[in-house]
Symmetry: C2
Subunit: 636 residues, 2 copies
């Protein structure tokens, strides 16, 4: 078979391609982190590369602007290689870890703030009792009179400190005990892991090493992965790092990843991708804090149900088929090494339990972290990530549902949408002459608009009457910013002369429709849950907004847009990455673990799509802010 050389810049790597091989797949295989929201279907337009030399035979696409095409831009997923090539992968098509933490300090410093300062109610601070503990034992010497076996001697000593009902030890540890105890002169440190209400001796070390005991908690988002390194002896957070989820190369949302895992037999690829992701984060956290991987004895992951299945290498196929049944909700604690996570070889991995296929461990962690489940007050928790999830309840009951909001708020499916990073417009204002002022993350030339920027922009467009309450663009206004583009109306936010690509940044009527649908899904979901339980919206005393997205949001504009209900503003609270906070609590406290299990057991889930009345609510919410203005008195 014929092969070609593909040179990739700026890496300056040469890769060998087979005749007809897909360029996106080649780049993926070469382990160069490239963005691809749709998973290689030519739909999202995110895998742009610049062809420097070589013959290209590609399909036409609306995802590339004229000036881009002139510069040699193509979509990698639409190229089948038929000659030697030289290509460059530009910044906007890359998934680079550095960019998240370093290139977008603004976003991540906020996330970190939430992480570090604990945006938690006092009542949900739990007693420290980590998933793995180290205990120094100064064992009494054996004698003819005290001739218990080595293992029972260790158990007896442990039980002087803790009343563990069931203790276990694996054969590989038992095999080491005899010599190790004697070489250590009976002074040893045991690492104890809490597994399913049993306690496992997972490691024995000579002498007193109890001060070196660390854990990692991870929020596995569909889009980003954030990990914290924690000192298990005192709960101190030693560091936090984030990266894009490498699985993005295989599709941006859970559905496209499930399809890739099952129909394209890509389960292993996806499992490897997330394991590499997490390992890279752990490694760099460990280096930064100068600790050994071997001293990391446990890891707790929170993610949606699909992310959890993929992490564990479990086929997620049935999650997307009616009646939407996951393989497992309460995942047993396993050894991290079983799924390729590199910490102590016998270290444990726990995953937060989920409620249903679309209400995962991330939400359960969020409920844990928010303290909803311990409060007399009725609260709502809303997590607007790649999916939108809503939880309603108090200490007596909890119900949840997932909205098919889609990834519009993450900038996906929006012509000039992008994630919140350098070059993203995050706030706008429109004056009476329709001139637009905007602020850009990183103070660079703008490249696109991020989620919070879009919500902000829609509020402005509505206020300035560029759009009506149905989101339709009014083309009778006297401004050249409003124009028709092949039958679709659009509003020019920034002219090409001021953008980094030279192309205009616009918002189209289709974009607006997408965004309104997304907000309608979330708002209707909230309302139907309240209605079903016969609770007036005003009885909701706390409205927690989770997700990195939340911390950017202008509450006033989000209410004006109809995404958030018109409640007194002081009831809203951003709790940041509450999934990560929940995972940390799970890592650090037995009480939290019990609480978490009971939350997952207690919480019911609605499948909104089959809920009677949901469609009507959804349709009513397709107005800005809503068909029923009585719901928005302050807007009225």
């Amino acid at each position: 078979m014929k092969t070609y050389k593909v040179k990739v810049y700026p890496e300056n790597i040469e890769v060998i391609a087979k005749e007809g091989e897909n360029l996106l797949e080649l780049i993926r295989k070469s382990n160069i982190p490239i963005n691809s929201v749709c998973g290689g279907e030519g739909v999202c337009g995110k895998c742009k590369v610049i062809v420097k030399s070589g013959k290209i035979d590609t399909e036409s696409t609306t995802h590339l602007g004229r000036s881009e095409i002139q510069k040699g831009y193509v979509l990698a997923c639409l190229v089948n290689i038929s000659s030697d090539l030289e290509i460059e992968i530009p910044l906007e098509s890359r998934l680079e870890e550095g960019q998240i933490l370093l290139g977008n300090e603004k976003l991540y410093s906020k996330v970190s703030d939430f992480v570090r300062t604990e945006s938690l109610e006092k009542k949900s601070i739990f007693k420290l009792f980590p998933l793995t503990i180290k205990l120094f034992l100064n064992l009494p010497y054996p004698s003819i009179k005290d001739n218990k076996s080595d293992l029972e001697r260790i158990y007896r000593e442990i039980r002087r400190y803790y009343d563990f009902p069931i203790m276990q030890t694996g054969l590989s540890v038992i095999k080491q005990i005899g010599n190790l105890l004697r070489e250590a002169d009976w002074k040893v440190t045991v690492t104890l892991g809490m597994r399913n209400k049993t306690t496992e001796v997972i490691q024995l070390e000579k002498g007193d090493t109890s001060c070196n005991n660390f854990g990692v908690c991870v929020d596995i988002g569909t889009t980003t992965v954030v990990a914290e390194l924690v000192n298990l002896n005192n709960g101190e957070i030693l560091g936090v790092k984030g990266s894009y989820n490498k699985q993005i190369s295989y599709g941006s949302d859970v559905i496209s990843r499930i399809v890739y895992a099952t129909e394209k037999k890509g389960l292993d690829d996806l499992r490897n991708a997330i394991a590499e992701n997490i390992n890279a984060l752990i490694n760099s956290l460990a280096i930064e804090s100068n600790i050994k991987l071997n001293d990391i004895t446990s890891i707790v992951c929170a993610g949606n149900t699909t992310m959890t299945h993929l992490l564990l290498g479990i086929d997620p196929g049935y999650i997307r088929k009616e009646p939407y049944i996951p393989t497992v909700s309460f995942v047993p604690v396993i050894r991290a090494a079983e799924v390729g996570i590199k910490i102590n070889p016998r270290g444990l991995l726990a995953t937060l339990p989920s409620v249903a296929s679309y209400v995962g461990g991330d939400i359960v962690g969020g409920v844990l972290a928010s303290g909803i489940a311990e409060s007399e007050d009725l609260s709502i928790l809303i997590d607007m990530g790649t999916n939108g999830e809503i939880v309603l309840g108090n200490k007596d009951w909890l119900c949840s549902s997932a909205c098919s909001a889609g990834p519009a708020f993450e900038g996906s499916g929006i012509k000039c949408g992008m994630r919140a990073r350098n070059g993203a417009i995050e706030a706008t204002s429109i004056d009476k002459n329709f001139e637009v002022k905007y602020s850009v993350i990183g103070n660079t030339k703008p490249h696109g608009i991020c989620g919070s920027g879009l919500i902000d922009l829609l509020g402005e467009l509505l206020k300035s009457k560029v759009i009506d309450r149905r989101g339709r663009i009014n083309d009778n206004l006297s401004t050249d910013r409003i124009r028709d583009n092949r039958g679709c109306k659009e509003f020019v936010v920034v002219w090409g002369k001021d953008t980094d690509t030279g192309d205009d940044i616009v918002i189209t009527e289709d974009d607006i429709t997408n965004l309104i649908r997304a907000k309608a899904a979330i708002f209707a979901g909230t309302l139907i849950m309240l209605k079903k339980l016969d609770i007036p919206i005003d009885e909701v005393k706390h409205y927690y907004i989770a997700g990195a997205f939340g911390s950017h949001l202008d509450i006033e504009k989000a209410i004006f847009f109809g995404l958030l209900p018109d409640l007194p503003r002081n009831r809203f609270k951003f709790i940041g990455n509450s999934s990560l906070t929940g995972a940390r609590q799970y890592l650090l406290s037995e009480e939290a673990r019990d609480k978490c299990e009971s939350i997952a057991k207690k919480m019911t889930s609605f499948e909104l799509s089959v809920e009677p009345g949901y469609m009507e609510e959804y349709i009513s919410a397709l107005f800005l802010p809503h068909t029923d203005l009585e719901l928005f008195p302050s807007v009225k």
Copy 2:
């Protein structure tokens, strides 16, 4: 390096040997089962081979008779190879499985009797609840309303039958669940394993396979290994098979095996030997009953503490070093595959708990099977295998000790001693002219004397005054059967013309001393335990004799010899291989497992060697039957 060819008959195998290689080691490596009691030290004289051709340079030994030397017999362990050889391994030097069951029907039919007919008190018949159960589940189909995850659906259904507090499932099983449930139309059979008070789903099969669930129980003796195949659904014994413990090639007693394991780094050899042993037994049991190895879902092993350590590959080194501490007494249930036992790949292996280094799971199993621990009456259990162990107690308390009786009763360390198999003299009578009548196992020409034969013989020698109460041979009697051999007196039991080798079968004064020491150790141990607890011997209402050896013993002569106390004869009861019975009960019943754990926890152990007064008792017992004839009124 120079090499030689060694041809081995009757196998007709050619093996290549290095210059100077030890012949015993070569034979072992070639996997030809050869006897070696001392483990290759030239001490036991059991590894006799016949040299057919080739030059031999060997040390002289007293273990070979004149006629043997003439026939070309050598001890393999004393030969370093320095030429091409042709050798034959004669029957008496072989460890062949066939011989045990087929060549010695008499012994083994008795063992099997005990196994099959349950020589148990009624009170120790336990409720059937095996270590692994199979349960057919006809799961309700999932729906939007009933959207529990697959695993929780399985758990919920299991809990309709059993109230298991803690359920676990390994990742490898979880990964199969999704597809398997749907392919099986939600009709599946789960295999549940009881592990340490938790319940593990170890396997999922399509459809109803619950009728195919089998287990194996094994008594791992130092000398023999006996395995039973059991139907776990009803407790029926489908077959029983025995073999010599292949570890015998590395030494006949636990001490020589510990030395081989630790000082000669032979732990792996020993572990492999016993695993091969057990696998061969299981295989042949499975073939005979026409069942699949995959349907054997659990195995329970009972053995002394050293055997258990070796089975698990745990260094037994500290067992023989003061203060005699084993690594583990309560061994967790593991997967059989972890130690190379070939049943269902996820099948479980449990080992009976031990009490101390020299009071093992075999004894705990014996106590369980005997019913001692459930009786108001005071009982003694004595197990005379390669070691002698004594248990004293009732339902409220139990104490145990091990006697360094040595292997004399197994024919080892006795000039013409042999194990109880074809050619062994098992009973004798001596008339007033000192003529000897004898019966031989297998009705062949005699080859040696087995343990029960030796006890029988000593009783006869004492009665006919050939020996005095100290075991000294009276050389003033007018018979040519009494003679001096290089300064050691001996009594000729059978003249060479009537034996299978042509050499006389004798018992020497040294043999008699060895046997008296062995019985003294056991009797003194019994007495010191009673004394320490201030219990008159007559209060012992039941005296259980365990071990294959026991079933051959003539009670009357054993009392006359001073091995057994002078109690009413109806208090003695042979309970055969009670270790195997205990293992079967452990396999079959949760109640038995709990009982077994509580026996092992409750039982105390004396270390006799440090017990004050033990030496005096021992010395007093060196008389026949005893220094204190008041203890033996019926003999007096």
